[in-house]
């Protein structure tokens, strides 16, 4: 039997509040902590063979995959299966992981099923946590007491990603819908179905939308359908990016760029020119993961 780490897949990653560390989670429930400074600015004299390897590798108690990560000032929030846990950054950045500081359980409807917390998004004031889950719902939790405030239901299949901006939340699901929610009413007020747009749809890859993100006026989303830039109010596909991918898994705005990731490759696209220019690999992909290909995410 080969070592399973040869077939490792990194599902999510986030930066520590100090910006010095990158934390990545994989399907085997392992959490790798990379020292960015050591990797990007290696001291030549101290260069060893494993300088670009993880500094620490923690294993989360249950061997469930780590589906999503988010970070507050104080806590690293891990979305796993059936639960969301918060770990103090101090323990994460030390040799031994210890126990989680808090835990929010998300119980599945039947024993056979289990709920993946596929996406986590923190509101800008760091008070509310939005979790897009495998049971087709987006849960909103208060970080003060860990209580679920409300549930956004409307998707008919599991949710791939959650993102928000300006009192709006966008969620993308396996059912092929991208939904826009109003924070105040907890209802969706708009629904986008990229696979119905002939310019965007790719039937052989499926209808699923792997990722969606908001800016002031735009939504970027992609998955089975092509990566495209949609106008929020008109819900029209303004730009369709023709990329030879096998399904988009990650897309988000960064300054003037759109960064998108898919199987094996991650590339950044400049939006302002409205044409795709390969700008090399995004900064955060610089970190390799335990001698394997970090295949899925940026």
């Amino acid at each position: 039997m080969l070592d399973k780490i040869l077939y490792n897949t990194v599902l999510c990653q986030t930066f520590s509040p100090c910006g010095k560390y990158l934390v990545a989670g994989n399907i085997y429930g392992q959490l790798a902590v990379f020292d960015i400074d050591r990797i990007l600015n290696p001291v030549v004299e101290l260069l060893s063979a494993d300088y670009n390897k993880a500094k620490y590798i923690h294993t989360i108690g249950s061997e469930n995959q780590i589906c999503s990560l988010a970070g507050t000032e104080k806590f690293l929030i891990i979305g796993s299966v059936n639960e969301i846990c918060g770990w103090n950054w101090k323990t994460v950045l030390s040799m031994k992981l210890g126990k989680p500081s808090w835990r929010i359980n998300i119980s599945p409807q039947s024993i056979l099923e289990s709920v993946d917390v596929n996406s986590l998004w923190l509101s800008d004031d760091n008070e509310k946590l939005y979790a897009g889950c495998g049971d087709n719902n987006v849960y909103v939790c208060n970080l003060e007491d860990g209580q679920k405030i409300c549930t956004y239901s409307g998707h008919t299949d599991y949710i791939h990603s959650v993102h928000g901006k300006n009192e709006q939340i966008v969620s993308a699901g396996e059912d092929g819908c991208v939904m826009l929610w109003d924070i105040r009413t907890s209802k969706y007020h708009n629904k986008l179905e990229p696979h119905r747009n002939t310019k965007v749809s790719r039937p052989d890859l499926g209808i699923w939308v792997g990722s969606a993100a908001l800016s002031n006026d735009w939504i970027v989303c992609g998955g089975g359908p092509r990566l495209a830039l949609w106008h929020i109010r008109s819900l029209d596909a303004a730009t369709v990016f023709d990329i030879p991918d096998h399904g988009i898994h990650v897309s988000f705005f960064h300054d003037d760029c759109i960064i998108a990731g898919w199987c094996s490759v991650a590339r950044a696209y400049l939006k302002c020119r409205l044409e795709h220019v390969t700008a090399g690999r995004a900064r955060s992909t610089g970190a390799g993961w335990i001698n394997s290909t970090s295949s899925n995410l940026i």
Binding site: K4, L6, T9, S68, L112, D204, S295
Partner: protein
Amino acid sequence: MGKEDTSKKRRKLVSSSSISEGIKQSPADVYKRVVEFEENESQLRPAEKDANLFRKICQEIRQLFADIAELKSKDTDEAQEKINAKRVEASLHIVSLKKLNRLEKVRTRAGRDALHKEKQRVDSTHLLLQNLLYEADHLNKEVTKCLQFKSKDEEIELVSVEEFYRDAPKEVSRPEVTKTNEHQLQLARLEWELRQRRELAGSCNELIASKERVAAAIAAARSRLDALSPHLRDVLKATKPLQECLALRLDEKRDEARTASLLPTPLFLLYANSSAYSDALGANIVTVAISGDEDEARRIDQNNIADSELIVSNDSDSDQENHDEDRREKKKRHHRTSKVSKEEKAEAKKREVFKKHPLHVQLSVKVNDTSLNLSFSYLLHLKIVVVTLTVTLSKPVIGVSAADVLNENCILNELYPADTGNDSPHPATAYLMKSAGITEGFHYFISEVGRPYIWAQRMCGLDFMATVLDDSKSNKIIQPCPTLSVTTVENFIFTLRKRLKSRVELMKELQDLESGKITPVVDTEWPTRISGSLTQWQSISWPEFRQSPSTSFVISDGLVTQNDMLYRAIITRQSAKLVALVALKSDYPKETPIFSLTLHWNGTHHAGINDDIRDIERVINTDFGSEQVKKPTLSMQMTKLLTYLDVLLETTGSSEFPPDKVMLSPVRGRNRVKPYKFLKQGTGVFVQF
């Protein structure tokens, strides 16, 4: 005064003449006496006085002549008279001059005689001196000759002086004399030496005599023993019917033991240990035999005994010979002799390097009906053991790839990790081959010679690793170590039987696979309904394996190497075609097979570009998602692969593949994994984790 002298003389003359006249002797006598007298006179008178006298007389005569001349000029009688007187006087003077002259003559003669006499005396004295010098020289030479003379006694080694005084009796050593006289000391020491030597010679003779006596005794005993052997042979002959009757193999064993003694040490160790193992565990598992030319072996054995004392020097000699030969060859090249003979010579040399000992040990290991015959030979010059293998199968194997598994080369490949047997484990081999002018590596000759596996060396008690580690004594000759052989033989037979067993099983599996049949998994934990089918199974070469883009990952990580057995399986279901490249390690089933997949359906997909294929490879190649402790077999993995292909195709939602498997959700998670884990619940359900 002169006047007086002359007058005196005259008187004397007168008196003497008067004496002589008076005696009147015989004239001869008189003459003699006169002569004698004259001589005496001349002796007695000093020559200077005579000279003065002579001058004076001459003066007087001149004076007289002058007077005469003067008188003559006067020419008077008186003058005449005076002239007469003067004439007389002058005549007298002339007489005395005459006398003086005579005296002078005598004196001169006497002086001459004396000179002559003196000369003669000097000559004779000189002659005497010469004689004496010559004699002295001769004597000197004789003396040096004597001094240079070496006496015999100097060559004799004597005991030291202290020892001599300590050991020798007083009457020989005589310290009172010898302490002061060195010559006597030497004599005494020589005498003592002589005495001692005589004693020793005596004892030597005695010993020789006793030795001869003992030799005679031994000869007598030997002849008695020789006489015994025909009797023993008779006895042996007599027991033969009994042996046959009781089915004892005593004779054969004895023969074999005799042959075994001719084996080189490493092979003998192998033979002894493996035959012991065979005796202990029964001949149906392992049998050992010796084959080869016994007479030739005996000859080599005898040569070895003769040479054994001079191994080291011999080696260097042979080196020298090689050198010489080289040189000769070079010379020949200069002379441009025929090229063919040179090549033949090189060929002969090569053959000499790879010369095997004429005896081989045959080890055959049996599992069920398949038996492996290993032939171990010892290379005399390279000092390593090589193995050739033949496989005997109970029934012929159907199928190409299945037959390969039991192939001679393949079955022993990496029996122990990294032991491919491609190169000699002996560090000296390369040098030996180079010195013999062989430029090719050892692996070039493997087909003719056999493979020098490390386990074969260890079974024969040769451990080259130890010498490599023990650098300080790297020059020592590698000696077979019996304990190493004992432990290795058992381990090897065990490992080989295990390998053989697994290979026979693998062969059956491969036979089935090649005919498109997948042995159903006995394990009930797996669904039996499979929609795809195996349409092709064949072995492929390394370049073919390497060409496929799906294998770049396993090759670059060194998970699959050229030494592995490589196969291609093609699985089809409707329009989908899955090509699986399978790498089987020599250690199978200890190491599970490694699959590299390529799916041809809606384009070409492999793990590098498609996550679904990568997921399938993950669940097949790693133990992720399976709780089984047991290592999966090839056919079990093939079954799984077919099932996973079904799952993958059915989750695409294409109408070509109607859902047949029960699954909770077709995809899950952001990476959209398909359900590859089978849960035995109800009819069985597929889940992701």
